[in-house]
């Protein structure tokens, strides 16, 4: 439903987005990851028709955003970064304004507004002016505005930024709920979020796509992926590392860290299942008191840092 081809955006000599291509299908939640200033927001602004691309095309539901911007804007619900709204309006009158612009009237309008208020949990604040609301409520007003017309495509720039953990959870549930019938793009720099709601993740840095795949594939890129962590009580003899290293199929052993009265090792092996068996035998033979023997899932932070490293600091253009 969203097709982005060789998208590029230049601000003077600065290239904010450099040749980005991707597609999002219906029922898919795409997570846009990247450090600040990587070009996430700029890309989203081009998809929603706020910025004109310097080169490349964006198609939403088959319509080109430059050639028929109104058709594209009709089928998109957009939550801009920071959820800007008209601060001097009440929540109710603001949503009425959005409904008017979207062309609803009469019973349909009332129904749409009520359903958006209910989905975004805004019942308690509908008669308050937006400037008096907390950050969390403001964000939810922005969300209500974006989903009012039940759009097939939803673009959200940092939808959970600044929310407390409960609110984050609610917003994620809402996104998951809507995911089946829509194509959703969210940007975030919270890695756990990708795991929690996204079917696919794209990492961009310096305006380029550095990774495009499922969160699982992303985890698999971590060097800790499928590493085995062994934690034992006390301090086993110094040759424990050597013994572990001598096991069949083990490539490398790293002495991880000491936590209180415990010692921990990272073991990197080719055949994980086989290595786990051998390690537990070894532990029995050596009379180690095993506290923990687990397979690591992979650390997203590590992958993220590795993929986005080399980014020039201090570029605020996003």
């Amino acid at each position: 439903m969203i097709e982005v081809h060789n998208l590029r955006k230049q601000f003077g000599v600065f290239t904010a987005v450099d040749d980005i291509s991707f597609k999002v299908k219906k029922g898919e939640v795409l997570g846009f990851l990247g450090p600040n200033g990587a070009g996430k927001s700029t890309t989203m602004k081009m998809i929603t028709g706020f910025l004109n691309p310097s080169a490349g095309t964006v198609k939403v539901c088959g319509e080109d955003v430059v050639k028929s911007p109104l058709a594209v804007k009709k089928s998109i619900g957009y939550l801009p970064e920071g959820a800007p709204a008209y601060d001097d309006m009440t929540v109710d009158s603001f949503l009425r304004f959005i409904a008017n612009i979207r062309g609803y009237h009469g019973a349909e309008k009332t129904k749409r507004i009520e359903s958006a208020i209910q989905k975004a949990n805004l019942e308690s604040v509908i008669h308050k002016t937006i400037e008096t609301l907390s950050k969390g409520f403001k964000r939810r007003v922005g969300l209500a505005q974006a989903i009012l017309h039940d759009p097939p495509v939803l673009i959200m720039d940092e939808p959970t930024d600044g929310l407390d953990p409960n609110q984050k959870h609610e917003v994620r549930l809402l996104i998951k709920e809507m995911a089946k019938e829509k194509a959703i793009v969210i940007s975030t720099h919270i890695l756990e979020e990708v795991d929690a709601i996204c079917d696919r993740a794209i990492i961009i840095a310096e305006g380029k796509v550095k990774f495009d795949g499922t969160p699982k594939e992303l985890e698999a890129m971590s060097e800790y992926h499928n590493a085995i962590r062994l934690t034992v009580d006390g301090y086993p003899s110094l040759n424990a590392e050597k013994l572990l290293g001598e096991l069949v199929g083990v490539n490398r052993v790293a002495y991880d860290r000491s936590v209180g009265e415990k010692t921990s090792y990272q073991i990197f092996a080719e055949n994980v299942d086989d290595a786990v068996k051998q390690i537990s035998h070894l532990a029995q033979d050596q009379d180690w008191v095993v506290d923990e023997l687990v397979m690591e899932k992979g650390r997203l932070e590590d992958v993220f840092r590795r993929l986005t490293l080399g980014e020039t600091e201090g570029s605020n253009h996003e």
């Binding site: 706020f50 009709k74 801009p80 008209y86 601060d87 008017n100 612009i101 979207r102």
Partner: protein, 244 residues
């Protein structure tokens, strides 16, 4: 049409949801009274017409209309709500027209509220009411011209004070261009046709003839096309500056 109405309603509502509308109307009426009775000398003139009011109106507009128009786009850009507005399914020209109409109508309301002046005249004497009506029409058209300038300039900057100052200066230019002082300056070294063109750009030239009861089609066309051109420029400026 729908979207123009939606923008228009929101914009007009936003003036009344804050004290801006009330403050403006009170000050406008007070100053109108001061200008008409003291500076214009309505009583001393001994004539049953509103020339005293209309003569000072361009100067009243000069400061009050930029004060209304300065927030139109500057505030949208400052608060970031322009990103919301420009990603809703409306064209920029609809947004520009909607906002313009809202403020224009608001000034129209303020003008209507000067009706006690008209009542006073009718109580004291027998004024030529069609002339007064024509004067009000001219006043409304001229307000649109000031407003179109202000709206366009408001889109250039995100700072409302700068928008105000520049709007005042540009509007001032369009008043002055009809003054002999300015025309004399140009007369010596520019061909007469250019001098005439400068003079014909002035608000005063066109406004004065309307307030005298002569509704010349050319004057009406002047104001309407003036508004149209500035709003066109407004659309272009918004498009260029929206994401800065």
């Amino acid at each position: 049409m729908n979207s123009i109405m939606a923008i228009y309603k929101r914009e007009l509502g936003s003036y009344f949801s804050t004290p801006v509308a009330y403050v403006f109307i009170v000050i406008f009426l007070m100053l109108a009274g001061v200008f008409t009775f003291y500076l214009g000398g309505l009583y001393e003139r001994g004539q049953a017409d509103l020339q005293a009011f209309f003569n000072y109106l361009p100067w009243l507009y000069l400061f009050l209309i930029p004060a209304l128009s300065m927030r139109l786009w500057a505030e949208e850009r400052k608060s970031g709500s322009i990103e919301l507005l420009m990603t809703l399914p409306i064209s920029i020209s609809h947004a520009v027209i909607g906002k313009f109409l809202a403020v224009w109508l608001f000034i129209g309301i303020a003008l209507l509220l000067t009706f006690p002046l008209w009542l006073t005249l009718n109580y004291l004497g027998e004024p030529d009411n069609p002339v007064i009506l024509s004067g009000y029409l001219g006043a409304f058209l001229m307000a649109g011209a000031y407003l179109a300038i202000g709206s366009c300039i408001s889109a250039i900057t995100r700072n409302q004070v700068i928008a105000f100052v520049i709007s005042v200066v540009v509007s001032f230019g369009f008043i002055l261009s009809g003054f002999p002082l300015v025309l004399d300056f140009f007369k010596d070294w520019l061909p007469q046709i250019v001098v005439n063109a400068i003079s014909s750009m002035s608000f005063l030239t066109h406004f004065n003839s309307i307030t005298k009861g002569v509704i010349d089609l050319r004057d009406v066309i002047y104001f309407v096309s003036f508004i149209f051109c500035w709003l066109m420029a407004n659309v272009i400026v918004v498009d260029m500056k929206k994401s800065d």
